[in-house]
């Protein structure tokens, strides 16, 4: 299969959906002729023009409110918030409007839109440009949330999200944009709510989200050299969560570590760990463990930033502790 970068895979999904469905429009800051500050919409303006690849002012709340209103009137906006940190600015149209429309109107309305934003550390961008705030979106009933971890999933999850009748928030780790991998040509859909088994193993399960999947696979390689075979599972979407696949893995390995790049306290790892503790208790030989980011703002300094999020070495160490327990 041909390979694409994660960034190219997202662009291919957007282009494919825009060709298929004329109601799909892109909105965001510098996404038009500029092609996105991370080149994440490159080429789309040339093909689809200013009427469908729409630059907005630096007005996240107002512009996303417009996207929500437009989604109720026949359009399917893909709205980009440049940095995940800036979702603080779109909270009202996201949380109070889009997420609640279906429920408040007993299904009379929905907001079929995608909010795409970035996350993650590693670029020395500091506390206001490095957060991983996906757990916030997960906590709001009515929102679906996906964290693509591979180029193929980026394409497939974007296509599914755009076709979904609900608001879907997609968090893309900027450090994955250059990751290359095989991507199916033509239509490729990854349903929301289906986890992927990335690597089979017998000694422990590592449930990893977003970029943590790559770290977990690195850790698995190291651990294999030390005689430990771990299973790596990527939920791909956190809402809905494919709990069944996670539980099935725990039934095989009897030990589980949950790894997430967001802050540990009340985070996505905590939620998945709690679900597994409730649903897979009878098959567990050790307490569910989690590994997530430190509960601190993301520092800018090179000596500090790498300490904040889990990496392959810390995942491997946590697995050792898990199997020893």
């Amino acid at each position: 299969m041909r390979t694409l970068s994660y960034r190219e895979a997202v662009i291919e999904a957007l282009a494919g959906e825009m060709r298929r469905d004329p109601s799909v429009v892109l909105m965001g800051e510098d996404i038009g002729a500029a092609g996105g500050v991370f080149r994440q919409t490159a080429g789309l303006f040339d093909e689809f023009g200013a009427a469908r690849v729409i630059d907005t002012p630096i007005s996240e709340a107002g512009a996303f409110g417009i996207a929500v209103g437009a989604s109720m009137c026949g359009l399917r906006p893909v709205f980009e918030v440049m940095f995940g940190d800036f979702i603080t600015l779109v909270m009202d149209p996201l949380v109070n409007q889009a997420a609640k429309l279906s429920y408040m109107s007993a299904g009379g309305f929905s907001a079929p839109l995608v909010l795409r934003t970035t996350m993650g550390v590693g670029s020395n961008l500091g506390p206001q440009h490095s957060q991983s705030l996906h757990a916030w979106a997960c906590h709001v009933p009515g929102l679906k949330v996906a964290l693509p971890a591979s180029p193929a999933d980026a394409k497939g999850l974007f296509a599914s999200a755009i076709r979904d009748p609900n608001p879907v928030v997609i968090f893309e780790d900027r450090m994955l944009y250059t990751l290359r991998g095989p991507v199916p040509e033509g239509e490729h859909l990854v349903p929301l709510g289906s986890a992927a088994l990335r690597r089979a193993g017998r000694d422990a399960t590592v449930v990893a989200t977003g970029r943590m999947v790559a770290h977990a696979l690195d850790a698995a390689d190291r651990l294999a050299g030390e005689g430990l075979e771990i299973e790596v599972i990527d939920p791909r979407s956190l809402v809905p969560l494919d709990l069944e696949a996670l539980v099935a893995s725990v039934r095989r390995t009897h030990r589980v570590l949950v790894v997430d790049g967001g802050a540990r306290r009340y985070g996505a790892a905590a939620e998945i760990a709690a679900e597994l503790a409730e649903s897979a208790f009878d098959w567990l030989d050790a307490p569910v463990r989690r590994l997530a980011a430190e509960d601190v703002p993301i520092p800018i300094s090179r000596t500090l930033e790498p300490l904040v999020q889990p990496d392959a070495a810390r995942i491997a160490a946590a697995v050792h502790a898990l199997v020893a327990g």
Binding site: A51, G65, I66, G69, N96, S105, A106
Partner: protein
Amino acid sequence: MDAEQGWRFLETMLLMRRFEEAVGTLGARGAFPGHYHLYIGQEATGAGAFSVLREQDRIATTHRNHGHVLARGADPGAALAEILGREGGLNRGRGGTIHLCAPDLGFVSTSGIVGSVVGLAAGAAFACKGRGDGGIGVALFGDGALEEGIPFEAMNIAALWKLPLLLLCENNSADAWGMAKGGYPALVHAANDLRAIPGALGIPAIRVEGIDPFAVCDAVATAAARCRAGEGPVFIEAMTRRWAGSAPLWPELATGITDLGMATGETPIPEGPHAEWFARNDPVLRLARLVLAQGGDSAARLRALDAAVCARIGAAERFALASPLPDPATATDFTFA
């Protein structure tokens, strides 16, 4: 004055008034939970505005929405059932008074977060523009909405993109609770004329007497035509009268059940704190006096109209009270489409 148009306005306004008198009465006796907001005093603005909106227009409104939804043609029984949280409500009892909404009537949403309405309506205007069927987005909001940030951002974008967006601000701040008395429009705006805010963005902004449905109708017709012609957004500030019962959160029918005898002269206007309301500020009594001035059989016609409206509201109330509460087993339904 076009007398027949006056009667049509009066019918809409009486429908709103009798409906909300039912809401206030039911609220006072605890027939539904939660707080609510009444449109009493602003009926002329809604009646005038909705008389010119078209089927393809898309409307976003706020917590003070009862009059808007009725003016657009929602069934009063379903609207009242929604306020009562009943399964027979417009939204099957899931939204309630703050979120009365009727997608089939072109409402895109009804938000209790007041400024958000402007963003949603601008989005509707964006979609309407793309559709090219002459439809416009309409934002209905109060002066308070302009204290939030989203309207500034959305108005800027609407002006920049020349969106067909009609911004109808119902300024009901005169004598509002918590405000300085006698100042315009409120202590909370550094701008002492709300039209200056859209005006700074190049959005034409006009003020209209909100107690006069004819004036509102003319202003909205002119503004809507401009929007439909692709000339961008227009802002209308309708100055409405503050009604004494508009207490924050839990209104009370401070001026009682409207007695149209005060328009015909059969009932003397009582002395006291509400004399000014009855004599001049109540838009329903004011319009009733205007149609009565046509003479002829207008007094009998007014009585017949009111009786018909009251009968409709009585039926709506019976429907709403008879409608079942939602089945607890459905509590999580509709979270996702």
